[in-house]
Amino acid sequence: MTVAALLAGMFLATYLTRASFLVFGHRLRFPPALKAALHHVPVAVLTAIIVPEALAPGGQVDVSVSNPWLVGTLVAAVVARLSGHLLLSLGVSFAVFGLMRWW
């Protein structure tokens, strides 16, 4: 994989969305159905990344309480959900992950 191709494609994929209306202007209309669907993208994509990594870190399936990735991810989610504080939840989950891995 060449870095140049990676970056060029990612630049296009990003810039086209941001330039759409500002640069190409009046000829575009944003379909309301697409707008409603977009609302669900962050939760869908991030969950899709998290689940396989937490349940099978490094490709090895490990659905148990001794899996630091699984327990740490759950801790991050629970603390964030209860406190609403992102950095606090990262700090606590990093600590739990570190303890489970190296103690």
Binding site: L6, G9, Y15, R18, V23, G25, T47, A48, V51, A76
Partner: protein, 235 residues
């Protein structure tokens, strides 16, 4: 002239709290990008050229998982599609701006920069909005590049960081970002659909399972919206 300069500074100043908020993410991005096998220069180049925090994070996790280029590009596009909405929101106020300025503001239109510009738009209309947007966007850009460079440098100084569980830092960050949204039933169903699909499809090559799972999650969300609408119409 002074109003222009004032507006540039005001934009940068109003973006400052969000700049500080992105410090850990910029550093973690830079470090994990190098740990995932990108050179420090390539990690920094991605911030310079792409300038999209969440998409850069996701790209790094895809690279370390051995994803194919088209999967990375498509995921970037899907994740950034919401920026078209920002572009449409700013567009009416940008009528009198020269093309080069519209093109530049578009390049800087991340979630954070848009949030700052939109607030100003609500409070002051498009009074000196262009210099304000340039101040906010330019300030935020330099800020992101700085934290990325520091992270990439850290990643190079401590090559063992990858083994320290930086992959965990990434998924913990994602989990902490979505968890607060899981109060209403719809996001929970979206997460269940996407998570289950991602698990079942994890064996597919090139991380194609991620694309499948993203579409399954969005489809579930659209279905939930539709159900709520028909129920509201029946009531």
């Amino acid at each position: 002239m002074t109003t222009v300069r004032h507006a540039v500074f005001a934009g940068a100043r109003d973006a400052l709290p969000l700049m500080i908020g992105t410090l850990p993410f910029g550093v973690i991005y830079g470090t994990t990008a190098v740990a995932a096998g990108l050179s420090p220069l390539a990690a920094l180049a991605m911030s310079v050229i792409v300038f999209a925090g969440s998409a850069q994070f996701i790209a790094v996790s895809l690279i370390s998982g051995g994803a194919a280029l088209p999967v990375i590009w498509l995921t970037t596009f899907v994740v950034n599609l919401r920026h078209a909405l920002y572009s449409a929101t700013v567009h009416p106020a940008a009528h009198g701006w020269a093309l080069r300025w519209r093109a530049l503001v578009a390049f800087w239109l991340t979630d954070e920069v848009f949030a700052v510009i939109e607030k100003r738009l609500m409070e002051r209309g498009n009074e000196a909005l262009l210099p304000y947007a340039l101040g906010a966007g330019g300030g935020f850009y330099l800020n992101w590049l700085t934290w990325t460079a520091i992270g990439a440098w850290l990643g190079q100084q401590f090559p063992d960081l990858a083994g320290w569980g930086l992959d965990f830092a990434m998924i913990a960050t994602f989990a902490a970002m979505i968890a607060p949204q899981l109060r209403a039933p719809t996001p929970v169903v979206v997460a269940l659909a996407a998570g289950t699909t991602a698990w079942l499809a994890r064996g597919l090559p090139f991380k194609l399972g991620l694309i499948l799972a993203a579409f399954a999650g969005v489809a579930a969300g659209v279905w939930m919206d539709h159900k709520r609408k028909t129920r509201a119409a029946a009531a």
